[in-house]
Each structure stands twice: as C-alpha cells, then as structure tokens.
Symmetry: C2
Subunit: 213 residues, 2 copies
DNA sequence: CCTCGTTGGACAGTGTCACTATCCAATCAC
DNA sequence: GTGATTGGATAGTGACACTGTCCAACGAGG
C-alpha cells in the first residue's frame, strides 16, 4: 500500500499522514526504494487509532505519542501497557497544593476511597492522575458553592464501579492477542465519550419525562 | 469591588479578566466614574463559572458565551435554559453522513433507544448533539474493529440511566432559585469529569485486583 | 492645588497546536 | 526519455486563549 492509498482508505489527507509520520505517531513504512515506502494494514489500523485519539479523545499529539509508545513497548505486560497508556492521558491543570479548598477536596476523596474500600486506589493515591484530577474538580465544585462531599460522590462512585467491572469482564472476552492492547486503549478512550453521551441522552430523556419538553 | 480585588479573590490575572469582559463572558461592572467600575459577588461567581467551563470543561470561549447567554436568558424556563446551555457544549467533528459506517452506527443507536424505551430521545433524534456525537463515536469504534453494537451498549445505557435519574433527583433538592441554573450548568459540566475520573479510578482498582499491579 | 500611583479600556503581540502548502530530487509508467 | 508521482524536508497558516503595552482619567497624600 502506498502513501496515497493509505490516505485514500483512511480518509486522512496525505500531508496529515506525513505529519503523523514525522511526529512518530505512525511507524515508517517498509522502504521499497530510496524514495518510496510500502504500508500495510497495521499502519491503517494505527492511523485510525491516532485519529480516534486526537479527534474523538482530544488527546494532544505529544501525549498520543507517549500513549502509543506504551502500547508498542513489548517489554511490558498487557496490564501495565494499558495502564501506562491510560496514565498518559491529558488532565486539566491542577490547582495549587497550598489551596485550602484543594486540601479539603483531597480529604473528601480520601474518605470516599476508604468508604468504598478501594484500597489499591487509596495506596496509589496522588500518584494517579485520575486521583489528582478528581481532587481538582471536586475543589472547583466546592469553590463554586456546589455541594460535593463524600455523601454526594458515593452513589456516583458505586455506579461507575459497576461500569468498570463490566468493562473488565468485556476485556477478557476479546479473542485476538496481537492487537489486544491497541483495542483496549481505543476502547478505554472511545468508550468515555460513549458513556458521556449516553449520560447526556439519559438526562435529556428523564428531564423531558419529568418536566416536559 | 474593584477589578484588582476581583482578580485577587478569584486568582484570575487582571488581563485575563479584561479579556473575558471583552468577550462578554463576564458582564461589565457598575460604572462609578467614567474610568472606574465596581464589581460584586455575582461577578466573582460568574468568573469562577467561566474558569470552570474553560479550564475544567475545556469549553471554547465562543461556546462558553453561548452557554452563558442561555443561562442569563430570563425569558426561558429553567429546564429550557439548562437544555439550551448543555445543547451548546462542544462536540467532536462529525463523520460525513454518506459514510456507510455512520449509517450503520445510526441504526445501532436507534435500535438501542427503541430497546431502552427512550421515546423522547428517539423523537428528538438527530437534532440532539448528544445523539449525533454518540453515532459518530460508535461509527469510529466500529471502523477500528471494536465490537460496539446494541447489545454492547445496552448495559452501559442502563447504568447511565440510573446515574441520570440520580442527577435529576439531586437537582430538585437545590434550595436557592436565583443561581439554580448557573449551578445546574456547572454541575452538568463539572460532574462529567468527576464521573470519568471515578470511572478510571474504578478501572484501576478492579484491574489491579484482578490482574495484580 | 498638584502630583503620582492606580484604574479601566483598547489594541497589538505571544505561544501553542494541529495541521497544510511548497519545494525538491528520485523514481515509475508509458 | 519524459512527464507525472512519490516520499521527505521545511516553512507557513489559522484558530485560540491569553498577555503586554500604552493611555487618559481618576483619587489620595501633601
């Protein structure tokens, strides 16, 4: 497959593919001659993953490179590779640590994790970007005057726990091993918008039912 | 409250506040003299909402202006105002309609809504940005070779339905009427990151439990 | 009254980011 | 052999969210 054909079948413009090659989001093709290269299905799949990361997942190019590097790192096991990839996802800017609202939010989240019995998350604690982002967001909500303490968060956490269990059950059902990590990353990143949109649709539905259109 | 004081107590730099005033994200202060203006608590609250929208919610400035215009539109009822505000939230770029994968994804989502009995969502259909984004995302997942049909989506939709019901119950418990819409918008936008982060934390927790660290 | 620092406002400049346009020499198709 | 095409390098573009500079009008201290 030539570059033009790769562009054709992926719908991505040639200059953009060249840009991705340059940024190492896409491995170089197999060199045929000094000036021509051949691409295969793995390039096509990777290219679609890149587009999904950037356009749907809104992942910055530099971050996508890290995520993909983790995906390609054969020295890591599957779980670690997936974790490393998700670990690299972008987070909103963090509030200063000396902020009292941040400190309070941190203790709120800690109490939540204790209550839920999420001991692993509790141990990893502030090393996890998810944890830190959660703290920042809770602090923001509190500063805005919106109640967001442990009691408010607990039901949401229980719901998401069930969703996560379901996610992991599904991961085990994927048959192919080769592209498993690639697919898992795509799933992790692309299922988040799906969840959000289902959430908004459900809100629209139930809001309309309760209050009318 | 002078501009400098507003900047001080919000932590937002003065030039940025001026920029927000210029972009009409923040209403102008009450003019004291020809060259000085006075701001109050409502400005401070609005400013924090703007920061939350832009920094946590990653809402573009132009979109934030529309969202806030809907919030301020006294001619609309509360539900409509909230709907209008959420309606304006940014969506990923949409796939071309003639794409066969998009058409298939649309029918998948339609079947899902039928199955769930979300009749209002079904009627509104493609008018809702949430619907269209969901279709686009499902199409992307399918193109990547990830199974994402009605059976895969249904359990997720059921979970999010329960979350949405809980959301709406909570909305009713907010006592103050004046800032209700403002708070509801902040909640709708800021609770999405909270949900996502709880989801990721839960994934980390259960993945670690099942597969080890 | 008269400074002199401060205020709000206008406007141009900056940094980042995701592309995109241009150019070039090597090669392939006829 | 010749004209189009290819892959690669480099520089440019446009959107976006600020940010820095300047300025005339205040307002408080002497």
């Amino acid at each position: 497959m030539r570059l033009a054909e790769l562009s054709e079948s992926s719908g991505v413009p040639i200059p953009t593919i060249k840009y991705y090659l340059r940024e190492q989001l896409l491995p170089p093709g197999r060199r045929i001659t000094a000036t021509q290269a051949e691409y295969d299905d793995s390039h096509l799949r990777r290219l679609r993953l890149v587009r999904a990361l950037i356009q749907v997942g809104r992942v910055p190019v530099a971050t996508a490179r890290e995520v993909l590097a983790a995906v390609d790192d054969d020295s890591l096991g599957r779980t670690i590779r997936l974790g490393a990839a998700l670990w690299a996802l972008p987070q909103p800017p963090e509030a200063p640590e000396d902020d009292p609202a941040t400190a309070e939010a941190a203790s709120t989240v800690d109490r939540l994790l204790d209550e839920l019995g999420w001991d692993t998350a509790r141990e990893i604690g502030s090393l996890s970007p998810s944890y830190r982002t959660l703290v920042t967001t809770v602090a923001t909500l509190n500063r805005l005057g919106y109640p967001c303490g442990t009691p408010e968060l607990t039901p949401y956490a229980r719901h998401m726990e069930r969703v996560a269990e379901h996610d992991i059950d599904r991961l085990d059902t994927i048959p192919e091993e080769v592209e498993k990590v690639e697919i898992a990353v795509a799933a992790a990143i692309l299922y988040e918008p799906v969840l959000l949109m289902l959430h908004r649709l459900a809100q629209e539905e139930h809001s309309a039912r309760r209050f009318g259109l």
